[in-house]
């Protein structure tokens, strides 16, 4: 079963614009991670935010986490055509090891 749910399911923007994707989840988490998946390629880890963090930055990426609302957002600033991909949030549980529970993903299309 899928824990997270991304919103929107699909997003189409122009190069240079910002893209915001949201993720909601259901149970308590240890951390939340965002992954990117290009067509025909595997998942690439983008950023991890721990449950005691509220915001994290990595290059053009900004992630926020609101554990009270069980939600997270991923902001990609100054988007590029190469950012075209599906983006998934994944939650890590509280077990000693961390299997990831993924959402259904947001498909982002960045047009030149």
């Amino acid at each position: 079963s899928q824990q997270g749910e991304e919103d929107p399911q699909a997003l189409s923007i122009q190069e240079g614009e910002n893209a915001t994707m949201n993720c909601s989840y259901k149970t308590s988490i240890n951390n939340l991670q965002w992954y990117r998946q290009n067509s025909g390629r595997g998942l690439v880890h983008l950023i991890l935010i721990r449950s005691n963090e509220r915001e994290k930055h990595s290059g053009r990426l900004r992630v926020t986490l609101d554990t009270s609302k069980k939600s997270s957002s991923l902001l990609i600033t100054a988007s590029r055509a190469a950012d075209t991909a599906s983006y998934f949030c994944a939650t890590g549980g509280n077990s000693g090891y961390s299997t990831l529970t993924f959402g259904k993903g947001t498909m982002l299309l960045v047009s030149p």
Binding site: H45, F88, Y97, S98, L100
Partner: protein, 115 residues
Amino acid sequence: GAGVSQSPRYKVAKRGQDVALRCDPISGHVSLFWYQQALGQGPEFLTYFQNEAQLDKSGLPSDRFFAERPEGSVSTLKIQRTQQEDSAVYLCASSLAGGGSDTQYFGPGTRLTVL
């Protein structure tokens, strides 16, 4: 450096055939995970190994699915008597230790189509 590799990249099987999917994790990574990704969905957890021990197989959909990692490195996911609903991309991931915050590195996946 070498990442996670999987073979074959594509597999077509007739319903009822057995298939074996291979995963080569990053050298030295203790933890290995298998996920199943149906079309248009996010990956779903199948099973987890720490070295050669299979610590969690709660995500395996049926007893037709079997995974092993006998020497704590390469892993094989076997599906017996394949069914059309088994058609999906099977992803393997490895992490250095497998702790709660370890990054998982994913392979490119094996796309299985069952006719």
